[in-house]
Subunit: 124 residues, 2 copies
Amino acid sequence: MIKFLLDYSSGVPVYRQIIDQIRFGIASGQLKLGEQLPTVRALAVTLKVNLNTVSKAYKELEIKNILETQQGTGTFISSTKMAVPKKEREDKLKEICLQFSSVAFSYGFSLDEIMQELKHIETT
Amino acid sequence: MIKFLLDYSSGVPVYRQIIDQIRFGIASGQLKLGEQLPTVRALAVTLKVNLNTVSKAYKELEIKNILETQQGTGTFISSTKMAVPKKEREDKLKEICLQFSSVAFSYGFSLDEIMQELKHIETT
DNA sequence: TATGTTGTACTATAACAATATGACAAAGGT
DNA sequence: ACCTTTGTCATATTGTTATAGTACAACATA
């Protein structure tokens, strides 16, 4: 199962963050074909958001045929293709790294300091 | 002068994108102390957004003492550093690295991928 | 069959983002 | 002085995001 995480300081709408994390989770192999996602109610509680917000995210992914829903049963990964084009994944990586380095540099940290610190991060 | 570019598909509010790009411009050295930014009206035309949107971005940066505005003259970079107490420097580094890695992991990127990408960041 | 779980649908409300307009204030140049 | 340029402010309007609450439909299981 994937670990969801919301970044309220990013300005990106919650339902879009959920969508992206599912899509990228599929792209990275953390989410596999047929795997069940948390129920809309469960994820809403976990993320402390409204049920409708999660529902909106799931529904948009269902329209794109990435998820398949069955009332009374749950929501599942129905396709692992086309979730995220290779280029988009690369671009995303660049984007968040650039954004992060921007913040780090503005605080006066060097690339070496950053790398050193990141090495000590536990992957969990 | 910095080159602004909006990404409407990102979900990030326009005024925030402007803020981020100025901050990154400063952090990367593309924007220097005392340099004048485009006027609110000029940038609004360039980006095809409303004047108020640019104004909002500039004003927020002025509140943080990163920009300085003079009516009738323009807006300028007034600071290229973030005031951070030295005591909290290490803590800050850990904090932003942890936050960043969490976000990166939630998108399914590995530590290796992150490190690899960061190596390519240009400090200029 | 009855109950609980799951996704769906709808209304109403609030906050935010962005636009369109218009007017005003401060500084500079002529 | 006058005009232009600059940033600022205020109002109204539109669309999006998110919440709260309620009800309903489909499915699984005891």
